[in-house]
């Protein structure tokens, strides 16, 4: 019962968070210089034309009226019409979200097991050359920006060796494996950025757990090494890592503007970036809310995992 109440409570919080987010995005759009008509027609257009276009789009109405019609539409499941594309927002968001989830999924599947494995191995071999190699390589990879590593990969693998395609967008109607093939190279820069981070968190957690009293107790009571690591150390050591991974989900879904641009991939990051530049509020708000939902969802899952792994934490909290 406590668990369901906790989830409900978290969901309510999430709704309030998302609503606040929509208010902030709307306010932000108003603060940005220029207006929608000007953004579409450019600086050299006649002021009368800009006014006429703003009127057609309805962005010359009072701010409250604009926000009200948007939020009521949203509550009825209508994401609204894009100002710049003059078409419903939902298909754009849906398409971009699916793309983003694919790319994030592949990066996630690569980096989470390998990052944790790297951290665990480093901790078990702490202060040896293996540990140093993993830590230094992870750290070095993290500080290389995506646009540098991405271009290097493109130059080497797509232009010189021609083993990987230049773009992340597969041909229409491509099968699963073709899609994965197209997404592999773009996910490597993401892997590089996240690997060091996750590995270091896992390593620190492991070292702390290995030196803790309960580990010593477990060893002293005669459990095998394998049993100690699996049953006692890992469960405790990975808790902070899970939180870190959950917080990176928002980035993996919505923060990949650079990688998406470089590999010409139509994900949600570049969608909202373009929408922000064009002051396309319905598109921007819908995109940000979708990322918000993913982020909140990922954190909720992380919390549940946390409690599953750590019996000391339980929802409802009166025990």
């Amino acid at each position: 019962m406590g668990l369901y109440r906790a989830i409900l409570y978290r969901l309510m919080l999430a709704v309030i968070t998302l609503w606040l987010l929509s208010v902030i995005v709307f306010a932000g759009c108003q603060i940005l210089p220029g207006d929608v008509g000007r953004a579409i027609l450019g600086p050299f257009a006649d002021a009368r034309a800009v006014a006429a276009l703003n009127h057609q789009l309805g962005v010359d109405r009072p701010l409250l009226a604009q926000y009200w019609s948007w939020i009521t539409g949203m509550l009825r499941g209508n994401m609204g019409m894009s100002y710049t594309y003059r078409a419903p927002v939902a298909p754009f968001i849906g398409h971009a979200l699916v793309n983003s989830l694919k790319l994030a999924g592949i990066a996630f599947v690569l980096v989470v097991p390998l990052g944790i494995l790297g951290g665990v191995v480093a901790a078990l071999k702490v202060n040896t050359w293996i540990d140093r190699t993993i830590v230094i390589a992870g750290l070095s990879a993290t500080v290389v920006p995506e646009f540098v590593s991405g271009i290097v990969f493109i130059m080497v693998f797509s232009i010189w060796l021609r083993v990987f395609p230049l773009t992340a967008t597969p041909p229409a109607n491509a099968g699963v494996f073709t899609q994965i093939y197209y997404l592999l190279m773009p996910s490597i820069p993401l892997f590089m950025i996240l690997f060091g981070y996750i590995a270091r968190m896992a390593r620190a957690g492991m070292i702390e757990a290995l030196t803790s009293d309960y580990t010593r107790t477990a060893v002293l009571k005669g459990l095998s090494y394998r049993q100690v690591i699996w049953r006692h150390v890992l469960r405790n050591a990975l808790l902070p890592t899970i939180t870190v991974i959950a917080t990176q989900c928002g980035y993996l879904i919505g923060g990949l503007v650079v990688v998406e641009t470089l590999f010409n991939y139509h994900g949600i990051g570049s969608l909202i970036f373009a929408a922000a530049k064009a002051k396309d509020f319905p598109m921007l708000a819908a995109g940000i809310l979708v990322i918000g939902v993913v982020y909140v969802g990922a954190n909720l899952i992380a919390d549940l995992l946390y409690s599953a792994l750590n019996p000391r934490i339980s929802f409802g909290g009166r025990e």
């Binding site: 210089p33 207006d35 000007r38 450019g42 257009a45 003059r86 754009f92 271009i151």
Partner: protein, 554 residues
Amino acid sequence: MSKRDQLISQIRRNLSEVENDLMDNALAGRVDRRGFLAHGTRLGLSLPLLGTLAGAMGMGGVRPARAAGPSGGTLRVAMTMPAGAIDPVTIADDGGLMMAMQTAEYLCTLNPDYTLKPVLATSWSPNTDGTVWTFKIRQGVKFTNGQPMNADAVIASVERLVNPKNGSNALSAFAGVLSPGHSQKIDDYTVAFHLDAANGNFPYVLSSDNYNLVILPANYTGGFEQSFIGTGPFKLEKYIPKTGASFVRNDDYWGPKALLDRTEFTFYADMQPQVLALQGGQVDMLAQMPVFEGRAIIDNPQFNIISCKSSAHEQVHMQCDAGPFKDKRVRQALALSINRAALVRGLFQGHADVGNDSPFCKAFPSTDLSVPQREQDLKKARALLEQAGVGGGFSVTLTTEQFLEIPDYAVLIQAFAKKIGIDINLHIESQDAYYGKAVPGQSDWLDVPLGITDYGNRGVPNVFLNAPLTSKGTWNAARFHNPTYDGLVADYVKALDLTGQRAVSGKIEELLLDETPIIFGYFYNYIYATSKAVSGLPAIGDRPFLQTVSISQS
């Protein structure tokens, strides 16, 4: 009388006064072949006739059309993503324009040498004072949906853009030139345009120069993206917003059929991945490549680089009515501090022409080339500052936009100015912040004492002469108010013949050199890059017409 002279005088008898003025200029050697053709087509003379005349006058005939390449195949083009819905009425970006012009056509288009090529109009001519221009419309042309292209379609297409209620991006191009309701149907294939004021360059306002003016059916009310309706050499196969588009040859096209079977466009959010895509063989052509973003391939012999002369430039304006640049000697000094040849080399690897602080670039036939070119002269610049009472130098902020090579240009100006003691602080902001609301008081562009603003290619200097420089100009960031200049520009716009235009253009160039409200440092070329398999792309900047393009299949 030689045979040549007989031919010329025979033709001249049928020409109007204005047309004969052009002939006088040509015979006296005051206009070269290029200028002769440019002005002749503007006056509505056909290119074959002009070619005959040019040949008779020893200018060399019109070059024969390039030998047609192999037909068939698909051309894959990388281009910058359209900024929004493809609606010819509102498009204001290269990407959107690139899409619309694949299927829709103009009345006339710019040729590489700034002459006009008749497309959906077959000819045009002014009345004696240039206040009424009559256009003959091509017969037998149908839209892709079967509707006829005629005077009604032309008038509706123009009225749609002239009407201030439609949010049309071309409204500023028509302001003061053509008002709503002034396009008159003479018959099904003849339209007369009654202008607000005499205008010698009006055909350019109805050409591809005014890129919103593609001819659409009379009953068009929007939704171009669904049909890509037009009369052009290609028709829509598929359009996916934010992703790409493909077109196939229109076999019912009224003119020479396209050589390619298909074209395939992929949209990119940025330039660098496009260059990489060409290098990686994923596309055959880049629809546009600014020099500074194409350094990786511009000198690479593996690719064709098509460099098109243009009148596109950046204007460095200095506020003339207050602040440090109120004294024209200070403005002259800053202009004299700049090494223009170094700009052309450094910023464009030579793919640009130096500017002479007026909108008259070498590409325009009406430019008076006898006006001496301003060169870097630091000694004179320092002396001018001394005379103006600021010999000890001063400090000022240069505000500009993050766009193309402009930030680099700003840094170079800063370095040049330092040599004469002017200390420039740079403030480089986003385009949104720089242009703001685009009205004085709400726009850095129009409010700062020193700024750099980008201007795209135009076939005639009219827009450059008016909006940024005349007293009533809406883009007058320099706050330049000079009645003599306003009068000269009015004379230039009215002038129907080359003699008249050149008489004024020299005076305008000299006046602007003296007053220097704006530094025109260079006019840069537009660049297309293609693989070696591609041929036949005409060198028309910013308007890659693909009808004559072919690709070899190997």
